[in-house]
């Protein structure tokens, strides 16, 4: 099993999720994060002083999937999260040793 961790623009969530629904997925978790990569921050002002928020709001989507699904799902994410502008985000894939469904105690891929 693999964990796919995708950092995307908040505004792209709906598109991504619709795409995921089409390719099929068993579950996901979404976390509000603040990110910093190549993208420059937003300039704001407060009573005469400008400042830049270097950290930008992003969403992290995490999904634990079967090895064979990684390809399909990352493709769906890339296609739908892409704008071509700096700040589109990244996808990271890592290994998961074990998965357990709390409700039933089932283990392994069946628990996803």
């Amino acid at each position: 099993m693999k964990k796919i961790e995708a950092i995307i623009r908040p505004a792209k969530l709906e598109a991504v999720r619709r795409a995921l629904e089409k390719v099929g997925y068993s579950g996901l978790m979404i976390t509000e994060i603040e990110g910093h990569g190549k993208q420059k921050g937003v300039v704001q002002q407060w009573r005469g002083e400008k400042y830049r928020l270097e950290l930008l709001p992003k969403l992290k989507i995490e999904m634990v999937v079967k090895n064979e699904d990684v390809e399909r799902i990352t493709k769906a994410i890339i296609e739908n999260a892409k704008t071509g502008e700096i700040g589109d985000g990244k996808i990271f894939v890592s290994a998961i040793d074990e998965a357990i469904r709390i409700r039933t105690g089932e283990k392994g891929e069946i628990a996803l």
Partner: protein, 439 residues
């Protein structure tokens, strides 16, 4: 000094202050009903609009509205309230160019301030309907137009001794002059602006929940409170029977409308929605604004009950028509402004609180009064809607009235003001786009 003048001045000023306070109410209702990312923008609009009204109405609005002139427009003492005037003299004793309002025996500046806060209310109504997508600059300019050329003309027709007044149309505190004028101007803006991004997509109506119902409730209470200045203050003199009567009809209509809005939304929507409850209250208040001094307490309850139902249906209806009004301003002010004005023709009882309106349809007065009211409603609709449409269209051509899509998605707070309303709170950014999977 004549005691009566002193007392009347106190009454006029105190009630005017309450109406001024309604600006806070509007600001809170509108920002509470919108998204956090546009909150600074909405607060700014609601804040600046009274400043604009103050200058616009002083500069020209007052003169066009109350200056002596013809049935359509005031012509004397136009600018800076600088015409001849010996207020608080009344009746025969009055010498001046603002004779249409010389019936109330208070100083000129008291009259001005009282009328100004009403003008400000009409202007602020627009703000909510065009929220979350309008350019700040264009809104400011439209507000100048509104307070200098739109509101005062209608005001002249009805309260400035103009042709509608002569026709026997009655609008005690402004269901038409203030609320439906605000509503028609807003409708023109909404039609030219189009709906917010994402509101009607994929053939669905996507609800866009407001970010703060505490603020919206606070604002509605403040408006309800302010209405106790709006309606009873419109006597512009402290006539005990009249003001007591008006306070009670005003309150009863609000109470009845709250309960009927709750009932209807419970039945239609399954649960008693708070947003609808708040709108229900405002609907009742708007509807009773024209008839408050002309109908019985019993009638005020009936008017309120109907207003509460109307507003729920109107909110749903405008959405069906894809007319995107984030705060329900049209359903509250336009629909119920019209409804309330017509109610005078239906429920009026001659001299019930002193004013000789003649009886309405339901009290044996026949259609006379109703037709006068209807004439008012229609002519005001035509003038306000067309002039507003032209004004918006010019602004659209000259400088644009809608922010860029990019800015709309990121929020107007950053784009228009460079500010964030709640910089320390973590927000659920995508909410607005992720909702809307309708049952």
């Amino acid at each position: 000094m004549d005691m009566k003048v002193i007392i009347d001045t106190i009454w006029v000023l105190v009630t005017a202050k309450l109406v001024f306070f309604m600006n806070l109410g509007f600001a809170m209702v509108e920002s509470g009903f919108a998204r956090a990312k546009n909150c600074v923008n909405i607060l700014s609009k609601n804040f600046v609009v009274f400043a604009v009204s103050s200058l616009g109405f002083l500069f020209l609005g007052w003169g066009l509205m109350f200056g002596d002139g013809n049935p359509f427009v005031g012509l004397k003492g136009l600018f800076f309230v600088s015409g001849l005037d010996n207020s608080p003299a009344v009746g025969e004793a009055y010498k001046g160019v603002y004779s249409a309002i010389s019936w109330t025996g208070v100083p000129l500046w008291a009259k001005f301030f009282f009328q100004l806060v009403f003008c400000g209310t009409a202007a602020t109504i627009v703000s909510g309907a065009v929220a979350e997508r309008i350019k700040y600059k264009s809104f400011i300019l439209f507000s100048f137009i509104m307070t200098m050329f739109i509101y005062p003309i209608i005001g002249h027709w009805v309260w400035g001794g103009g042709w509608l007044a002569q026709k026997g149309m009655f609008d005690f505190a402004g269901s038409t002059v203030v609320h439906s004028v605000g509503g028609w101007a807003a409708l023109a803006g909404v039609l030219l602006l189009g709906p917010r991004f994402g509101k009607y997509s994929n053939g669905r109506i996507n609800p866009i929940p407001g970010h703060n119902l505490s603020l919206a409730t606070l604002g509605t209470f403040v408006l309800w409170f302010g209405w106790f200045g709006f309606n009873p203050g419109s006597t512009m003199m402290a006539d005990p029977q009249a003001i007591s009567h008006v306070v009670v009809t005003t309150n009863m209509a609000a109470a009845a409308a709250i309960l009927s809005a709750i009932m209807v939304s419970w039945i239609l929507l399954g649960k008693p929605d708070l947003g609808m409850t708040l709108n229900g209250c405002l609907a009742g208040l708007v509807a009773i604004t024209a008839p408050c001094a002309f109908v019985s307490v019993g009638s005020s309850i009936i008017i309120g009950l109907i207003a509460g139902i109307l507003v729920v249906l109107a909110v749903i209806g405008f959405d069906k028509l894809k007319i995107d009004d984030p705060v329900g301003a049209l359903s509250v002010h336009l629909v119920n402004g019209v409804f309330g004005t017509l109610c005078v023709g239906l429920f009026a009882q001659d001299k019930i609180a002193g004013v000789a309106t003649g009886d309405g349809l339901f009290y044996g007065g026949g259609l006379k009064l109703f037709l006068a009211q209807l004439t008012g409603v229609i002519s005001v609709a035509v003038y306000t809607f067309i002039v507003s449409l032209i004004a918006w269209a010019i602004l659209k051509t000259v400088m644009g009235i809608r922010v860029s899509l990019q800015e709309e998605i990121e929020g107007l707070d950053i784009g228009e003001h460079g500010n964030a309303a709640y910089p320390e709170f973590l927000e659920r950014k995508p909410t607005y786009s992720f909702l809307g999977l309708k049952e």
